[in-house]
Symmetry: C2
Subunit: 130 residues, 2 copies
């Protein structure tokens, strides 16, 4: 299954790279549609999954039942706002990540490869409004 170029896939990835709010498939669809009116939802889903499997984008399951996508594949944490539902990046070096993984690996009878963490709380924006 050699990969072939597809304009749609490129547009999807390009769009995702312009956003740092981790849009859902549907949001990607609606936006990409403006520039590429014929694109179908199925194609968007197919390509988002493909890109995620290739490791070119990240799939986030933040707990609202809808998958979010992130073009930033560097290791970083996310904060989900319990007020507005926004998903924002958390600037942080990789120390806490490695520490947590190591701590847990210490006395686990299997092998811990990594972890996924979502922080919940009030985002900066909502906090100002209070």
């Amino acid at each position: 299954m050699a990969l072939k170029y597809s304009r749609q896939r490129q547009v999807i990835k390009d769009f995702l790279m312009t956003r740092k709010d981790h849009p859902t498939a549907d949001v990607v669809y609606m936006n990409v549609k403006r520039e590429y009116p014929n694109i179908s939802l199925g194609t968007v889903y197919r390509n988002l999954s493909l890109l995620a499997n290739l490791g070119e984008i990240q799939r986030l399951q933040v707990g609202d039942g809808i998958d979010h996508f992130d073009a930033d594949t560097s290791r970083h944490y996310h904060v989900v706002c319990t007020k507005c539902g926004s998903v924002t990046d958390l600037a942080m070096d990789s120390t806490p990540y490695d520490e947590l993984t190591n701590t847990v690996n210490a006395d686990f009878e299997g092998i811990i490869e990594g972890h996924v963490t979502y922080f919940y709380g009030i985002c900066g924006n909502c906090h100002k409004k209070l």
Copy 2:
């Protein structure tokens, strides 16, 4: 909306307390059905959600798209096996949990209330078989 006793809810909770493998709603349904043949899937979903909202059980979203439930409401982490998909408890004191939350709170412009973490790797069982 005062809560009224329901045999079904009790059976569901009782069953969940006997399991430490974090079953899905469907698994709960199939098992509870043996003891209570007339129960419906809808009732199982309704009660699992109710119990989770009351804080009497925990809802786990481990990334397979299906909700898992845990009668152990104490704060603890989980390991999802990338081989067999099992979800097991991780014995650990609360220090790493608090540390992570505090580290992140230090320079975040909102308020972090807590976090959800799932570890991924090979569980003890699968590791033995390699």
